[in-house]
């Protein structure tokens, strides 16, 4: 089975500790990726060579504003541009202190309104990642982003908030690599609710689709 490394914070996380989310991701990616974790004591020391031991990086650092380093940013970009797969979920998308990752994600976090019940709708995308995706109603934080003006991305689900729709799940190639971003994912329960699109992303990233 292919290997994934989940990067995130346990003890120093204020709002999104990975405890529980890690097990939810293991359930979702069962039979596709074996998930290892790198907590806040481990992931700041990861480098390109250590990252290439994995087929997928799941990025969910909450304290990126204090754990980020130029070395790790360079390693992540090098990993992706040379063919690695990177999945950023929810708070992992808040990387405005390292614009290099904003470029990889093709987005820049703007903020969010309070946690609430939200509707997520599949787009009319005909790509295989959109197959079998049904509308989802979930409690989550309505994250909003500026989307990059240059990088063409594929939005497969949108969040409805007020009278507007906002990108919620999108994916693209970046260099030789693959990147996917999912704005919801505040809790383990939310991860499980979004199992269908997450699993499609995982299958695409594993190279089987």
């Amino acid at each position: 089975m292919k290997k994934a490394i989940l990067i995130g914070d346990y003890e120093i996380a204020r709002l999104h500790p990975l405890a529980g989310i890690d097990d939810a991701l293991r359930e979702v990616f069962k039979d596709v990726f074996e998930i290892y974790t790198a907590n806040e004591k481990v992931y700041p020391n990861l480098n390109y060579n250590s990252l290439t031991q994995y087929d997928l990086i799941i990025f969910m650092s909450e304290k990126w504003s204090i754990t980020a380093s130029k070395e790790l940013v360079a390693s992540l970009v090098t990993y992706v541009v040379n063919g690695g797969c990177l999945l950023a979920i929810h708070h992992g998308l808040i990387v405005n202190n390292t614009y290099e990752l904003n470029l990889l994600f093709a987005s820049r976090y703007k903020g969010h309104a309070p946690y609430c019940e939200l509707d997520y709708l599949p787009t009319e995308s005909d790509c295989s990642l959109a197959e079998g995706i049904a509308p989802i109603t979930a409690y989550d934080e309505p994250y909003m982003f500026d989307m990059d003006v240059f990088k063409k991305t594929n939005v497969i689900m949108e969040m409805v908030y007020g009278n507007y729709k906002y990108p919620a799940i999108w994916f693209h190639y970046w260099g030789k690599g693959k990147v996917a971003c999912m704005a919801p994912g505040h809790s383990a329960e939310s991860i499980r609710v979004f199992a269908a699109p997450l699993r499609n992303i995982g299958i695409w990233m594993s190279g089987d689709k």
């Binding site: 360079a74 470029l103 990059d148 990088k151 190639y173 260099g175």
Partner: protein, 231 residues
């Protein structure tokens, strides 16, 4: 350790013809900064292993014309700069033809008014590249770009249209906004970091005459020193 620079260009005549004097001027300028300046018209054969032999890459004209995001030369370019390499792109922002290149290098070509004389001023910012650089006029093409908003770049030079000479209404939408509209500053050179590396884009450089401009030569040399971490 000897400092080496590699100019990546193309040698096709008729379009910013590199061999018609431009090469000599550029090599002469950067020879005053680097111990050796090398030239290639074969960007596509290069990989990260080739790029890392150089302390600086100088991209001129369209060496990346037709490149795809997954080409080894292109991914090698990103790998090189994010891991500490230095790149200066002169005149045509050729990496901008690829989405990732437009993101990393900060822009994509949009249009340019006709070749003309333009007034260039250093931006009102404290930056070592700009020390001692005075305003100057230059005959060139004023390339206007779509720009990446996510990166934090430092504007180094502006074209200042304070005399209404830039151009009249042109055939391309938006071209007319630069006509007789005194005081508009068009950013034409900037620098930023990408990972551990450094990037500069600078617009002037349409032909050999651009590189003969004394103030612009001084600016380019200081760019080279900054890229070498000597400023």
């Amino acid at each position: 350790m000897k400092k080496r620079a590699l100019i990546c260009s193309d040698f096709e005549p008729g379009f910013h013809y590199f061999l018609n004097g431009t090469q000599d001027e550029m090599v002469h300028i950067f020879n005053e900064v680097f111990d050796s300046v090398h030239v290639t018209d074969d960007f596509f054969s290069k990989t990260i292993a080739d790029f890392t032999k150089y302390d600086c890459l100088i991209l001129y004209n369209v060496p990346l014309f037709g490149a795809k995001r997954s080409d080894n030369a292109f991914t090698g370019l990103i790998d090189y700069v994010v891991n500490g390499g230095s790149i200066i792109v002169i005149h045509i922002i050729s990496p901008g033809a690829i989405d990732e290149g437009a993101q990393v290098f900060g822009g994509r070509f949009r249009m340019h008014p006709p070749y003309n004389r333009y007034r260039i001023e250093p931006a009102d910012v404290s930056h070592p590249i700009l020390e001692g650089i005075e305003p100057f006029e230059i005959d060139d093409e004023l390339h206007q770009l779509y720009t990446e908003e996510f990166i934090e770049k430092t504007i180094l030079l502006n074209c200042v249209n304070d005399d209404g000479r830039i151009c009249a209404r042109g055939p391309i939408p938006h071209q007319d906004i630069y006509a007789k509209n005194g005081g508009i500053k068009v950013p034409i050179a900037w620098c930023h970091e990408f990972g551990k590396g450094r990037i500069i884009y600078t617009c002037p450089g349409h032909n050999a005459e651009s590189f003969k401009n004394p103030e612009y030569r001084r600016f380019l040399k200081r760019c080279g020193k900054w890229l070498l971490r000597k400023l």
